[in-house]
Symmetry: D2
């Protein structure tokens, strides 16, 4: 049966593998200076309408976050994030290991607001406390919600007015931008932050995240920083070839749309079974079931146990570029039968 554990459990989208095969007889210069990397970079800058941005291809999300954040901050400067932020919970202290505090706020629906940030700024009054300098948000968030255009604009305006940088973790950016509930365009995003990244690992690539630095002040010598963090891929052209393949003909967004659609379909099926499902915005779906049913679902579909309270568990389904209608039907039939 199809597993819904996450969106990075398959080798890669076939277009990606095909592109690698096409290039197997070639020799390339290393470290991302090859034509494929340059072309993929240009495609991204066109797509996001940010011709003056710098694009760097890194291998994974934690690596991208730690490399960029440590580049931006001075020793005493801190990142502001929601408690559920990936850098705070699931990166094993990677950002702190580069020397920087993550100051967390509770937020709401996995998102930070201008009010949250303002409270942090007001609280940090002098040199006996860290200096908040960079706001980290994820879009889509770690729980599948998305930021609206007005929310991101408000945050970025506040940041600019207060000497803060805004960095958007886009591990699942494609799903966010393809959400039926989304009103933020690619261009809006690029205009409303200092840097963001387009996730590849969770959207069809073998690996790879494209960091886009739009703020000119944060671009100088960034390749040194990448190497300093052990993040510069010798065969950088493999990142370039992959991104080129996935960006071509808008495939990057089409497959994200498929993931979203499958999650929405699953949502409708589960609701029809009277299950207690959270609203679905992107490709993550959270359903609350009794512990016994949770265990069965986890076994059958490889889902992750998200949380547990009393007799109930929240179980997460993640759809991907490779999830098909039949896979959803399988879940439906299984649950219909078992309930």
């Amino acid at each position: 049966m199809h597993k819904f554990r996450n969106d990075y459990c398959e080798v890669a989208h076939e277009a990606v593998l095909a592109a690698l095969l096409e290039n197997k007889e070639q020799q390339f210069v290393g470290y991302g200076l090859d034509e494929h990397s340059l072309n993929a970079s240009k495609m991204i800058k066109d797509m996001f309408n940010c011709p003056n941005a710098d694009v760097h291809f890194l291998v994974g999300g934690t690596q991208t976050n730690l490399t960029f954040i440590s580049y931006v901050l001075k020793d005493y400067e801190a990142t502001v994030a929601v408690k559920t932020g990936h850098i705070n919970v699931h990166e094993t202290g990677a950002v702190e290991a580069t020397g920087h505090k993550i100051y967390t706020v509770d937020g709401r629906d996995g998102k930070i607001s201008v009010d949250d940030i303002e409270k942090v700024i007001k609280y940090h009054s002098d040199e006996h406390m860290v200096k908040p300098k960079l706001v980290y948000i994820s879009n889509s968030t770690e729980i599948g919600t998305i930021y609206s255009k007005s929310e991101i604009e408000a945050i970025y305006n506040y940041c600019k007015d207060n000497g803060l940088y805004l960095f958007v973790d886009g591990a699942r950016l494609a799903c966010a931008l393809m959400s039926d509930d989304n009103d933020l365009t690619s261009q809006d995003l690029a205009k409303n932050c200092d840097a963001f990244y387009l996730g590849g690992t969770k959207n069809g690539l073998m690996f790879g995240e494209a960091l886009v630095i739009t703020n000119k002040d944060l671009q100088a010598d960034f390749r040194y920083q990448i190497k300093n963090k052990g993040a510069m891929l010798a065969k950088g052209f493999i990142s370039g070839i992959q991104f080129e393949a996935i960006l071509k003909d808008n495939l990057y967004f089409k497959i994200a749309k498929n993931a979203n659609n499958m999650a929405k379909l699953l949502y409708e099926k589960l609701v029809s079974l009277k299950l207690d499902v959270d609203p679905v915005y992107t490709n993550q779906l959270f359903v609350k079931v009794n512990n016994s049913l949770a265990n069965k679902i986890i076994e059958a579909f490889g889902c992750e146990l998200w949380s547990k309270q009393g007799g109930y568990s929240v179980v997460r389904f993640v759809t991907s570029f490779n999830t098909k209608i039949e896979d959803i039907d399988e879940v439906y039939n299984y649950l219909k039968h078992i309930k």
Copy 2:
């Protein structure tokens, strides 16, 4: 024309690509806990006869070096290396960025000796100086030389007697072990150090280095360290699949042997042309020519300019799994003609 710039300018050996394609319909658990990673790990432990070792797959060499070294050392402890060591020259301060000094010695032929290490130990006498704790060597070295069995044994014995760890950077380990001049077996190596890594990037993989920690005292919680450095690959199975493919039927060593053979053949051809070539042990060849010829070679074969003194330049040729006799002939004919 075939380029001799380095051994990581092609996508991958065809066996590696074939293995990825074979697995494209599968779903795997992430982070290196899949069956392919486990199997590749077992193959390595068998090959090096170190059943109690821990094997971890990382993406690149700098990453492997910084992740392991920072795991081993306390804040005030230092690494000892030769001046030409990769961590000292070509990693943009990655080890220092994790907080540790690299104390360098001149060495000879790119190699460190027991005498070198002993001088360092004697010089560092008290808590006002760093405490040398880990000896870093590369085999083959950055200039293509190799350590003999007796050299490595002597170094490791000295290390054990003096509370030091020995770590072997094996970015080009396969070429070292396949050298005609080599008398060190895989098993000898594993027995005579605390950890080493088998390079994949420079020997046929798209990416990947297999870190083998043989010292039980250095194994606990190492997966935390990997994640902490942003070095844990989400789709770890892609490393596993690649290593499995390259280790199968001894392919890993066969292709290294090819690289060595091609370098030796090139050596003979260049000598026959009365060129001033350094002795060749593995897959790197250094030839000293006048600056004008150097420029032509660099343009024609993509070689790296290694150093320059007065009117002469040293140019480096690197052979790989993919270098063929015809490619060597091409160099020969070119040089024969041009001289």
Copy 3:
């Protein structure tokens, strides 16, 4: 008028200055290896009945915290502390700057409980999250409360059972141990943690904190760590002379008792004026007054504004070795008059 801003606003207790003068004709070896430092160290080990402990004299509290915590933890390991903990709020990210996350809990009355710690341990389940390894508590706490013997014993037992270390920040330890509400002896403390420090800066010295490492596993090479963090005082004998002077004839505790008594007296006086004062355990007193009165108190007595809510402010009074009954009377008369 006497200022109640903090307990480190005067040069030093006269006994400390006298001891420095007595030694002004002498020459000493540096870096804390002199006879005064050795003697002060012995006095501390006797007083806390921990003959096998190592004692190190450092300059300040933040320095002591960061030097010890970074010594204990591996890169991926974290400290657990209450939100109000000094390392979390008022050290400008010093611990994070050494590479380690501080995972915070809400706690109660400025204190952490076994339940708090247990929740943290259970939440951190695998290598994608930091590994909590050291529990940091302050006694007295940042808000003047103290830990009972049973509380500290319970915490330390839990720590030992779960592979955690317990570190006690004793910037105001003397006041804690001299509290009327205290049931923890010096010996109890030393037996129920892995390390603690005796604050000197806030109890009569010009500067200086005595770090006492009772756990043998955390002692090796600690002097290297001190130097590595820039924390080794060249004229270490000045720390030794000061501690010797303040420990002699139990002066260290006598002056802390004075500070506590003065705070208690102030409490009674303020209560008699019907002011809203928090219970007082040590030498810090928090009183809630309207904003207008708060401003007057701050101006007259140099108090710190602790927090502000609506029309009310919480103002902090700190008493010290040098606070006298007349100083308290002065506050009383001022407030009696002004109200």
Copy 4:
């Protein structure tokens, strides 16, 4: 007998102690914001004619070096220093612990030249190597030599032309500026570097170094950096009082002159005894004697053994504010007798 081990083996100059006693009844604000610190800061800016500089009082030399260097450099940037530089040899990896490589050159007479720096700059060509960004020199150097005005000007001009910063470790700056061989004025120094510090520990204070940042670009938020490194003294006024006392009436330079004079006198005496003494520029004197005599000198005068080769040892004498003619006579008589 007077010991010549170093220049920091006595409590402090009597003027310093007197100043502390004078202020013992006062209460001050903390963290260096008191009137004495402000006044001492002003005195320094006047003396060095750098009204726009920022002055910060830190406790020790290693602390000052690591705090400033880590403030200036980005992760991938390195310091350039001579091999004998204090940060390279005797700070237990403190600078590397903040994440930065120290790239060393051999230099001559303990000093770096423009040629040395230029070679480093040319060698570091791309992002696979660290980026040299700050030149660290000591004046006087670790072996007692001094930089001439033209040497420092040349270095600073080269630095400015090549985007490098120049930082002068002035642990023994007073002795350098008071050398008979010196042609560099205080004002020359301040104009020809980005930052320097005036050493107090080695010139009459209990502790304390005054960091003077003349480059406006390196001043913002530096107090955050101090706190972040655990280097902010709670009772900052004790630094201020000390510096005020030692700077008054030029005492700071007068006592350095005494140290220099005593070293010169000792030099003449030793030469008259036909001993093999290095030229003396400041307050350090190195004499080469046979091992047996070296041991006797070390025992009698507490000198440090500097190096050992074959049957000979180099022994170091250090004079200080407190060395008197009688102390030199004592050495002379002892050696005259023993030879």
